[in-house]
Symmetry: C2
Subunit: 203 residues, 2 copies
């Protein structure tokens, strides 16, 4: 039964080709410029063929994002390995998050900044289990450890984690979406946000 398997393989290959083509266009041109017809042209198939592999544009884009968001998880996990104190782990994680966003602005945009009607098809997207959710879990764990070690004031972990998220999401999204705003020097601003947030959390 090698034939069915070869078929299966080829089908999987095309699926991956579609994702690759979509990612290439998406990364360089962004969401608005990504169209099904452009993807189709790049893989040299008809536009509707894509619909045999993905339910709709949202589903395709979701795949592209999931792929990238493993990297975000990696960045935070790396912080967990290299940081020597819980607070240092947290700090490195926050910096890693912001740098990830700035390195992959289009991904960050559709997944975190304006996901509505973009990667969430009709409101039935499963955040549970997604790579984005995993990244948030890692942040929460880091927060819990900081509380346990006494590095930051004790309190509700979820509230604290979401407060931190607000801060780092705020600066990341502002820097991505408001390129023309006269921000102060980038590194300085990022450090200010991270430092202010952490200073606001220590006992």
């Amino acid at each position: 039964m090698g034939i069915a398997e070869r078929r299966e393989r080829e089908k999987e290959n095309l699926r991956q080709e579609i994702i690759d083509a979509a990612r290439e266009i998406f990364v360089s041109e962004g969401y608005d410029k990504l169209s099904m017809r452009k993807v189709a042209e790049r893989i040299e198939y008809s536009p509707t063929t894509i619909y045999l592999y993905f339910e709709d544009k949202s589903a395709l884009l979701r795949e592209v994002c999931e792929e990238a968001f493993y990297k975000l998880g990696d960045a935070i996990r790396k912080a967990k390995k290299t940081g020597r104190t819980p607070l240092e782990v947290l700090r490195k994680g926050l910096i890693g998050y912001i740098e990830f966003g700035l390195a992959h602005p289009h991904h960050y945009e559709v997944a975190f900044i304006s996901p509505k009607d973009k990667i969430f098809g009709e409101g039935d997207y499963e955040f549970e289990g997604s790579a984005g959710q995993q990244a948030f879990s890692l942040l929460s764990e880091s927060v819990a450890e900081c509380m346990a070690s006494g590095d930051i004031r004790k309190g509700d972990v979820a509230t604290t984690a979401q407060t931190i998220w607000a801060g780092i999401h705020g600066i990341t999204s502002l820097l991505i979406m408001h390129e023309d705003f006269p921000f102060v020097e980038r590194k300085r601003l990022i450090n200010s946000v991270v430092d202010t947030t952490i200073r606001g959390l220590v006992p």
Copy 2:
């Protein structure tokens, strides 16, 4: 020469009618569902008539937003009147900002969350002098006063103001765009963000 003036008046009226129609659709259905044809249908003119009054969709939307963002300025100015100490003024201003965003989510979205290709036509939008810019100036003034009074640690005003902006923009945009995320209770979270930010800034 009353005729030319009447004409002028009528033209201005139609212009305002277009803005009104656009706002109504926009407020209730958001950017994606706002189309020139829908606006046209509501005012009972042909779609292309709108182009005699506005350069393009961005220009029309920009008008709708400018209109709304005077309210944001008002909210911050109100904080300036009712707050008794510079820090209280700042705090009320931050809360006012967040509440404004949550009260006008669609406006906040196109103006602050994802302005690219929405209200910024082809990158030649004048942030200088816009209502949004005025609001940010008010925030900066408030920060400067807090530094002068010693309520918050002294430092670069722009950096501090932008750091604060990151925090309040972060929570506002998250709450608007991620309705399905399991956030902790709204008021609790907002207070946590504002408190943490301010605690991070006091000497």
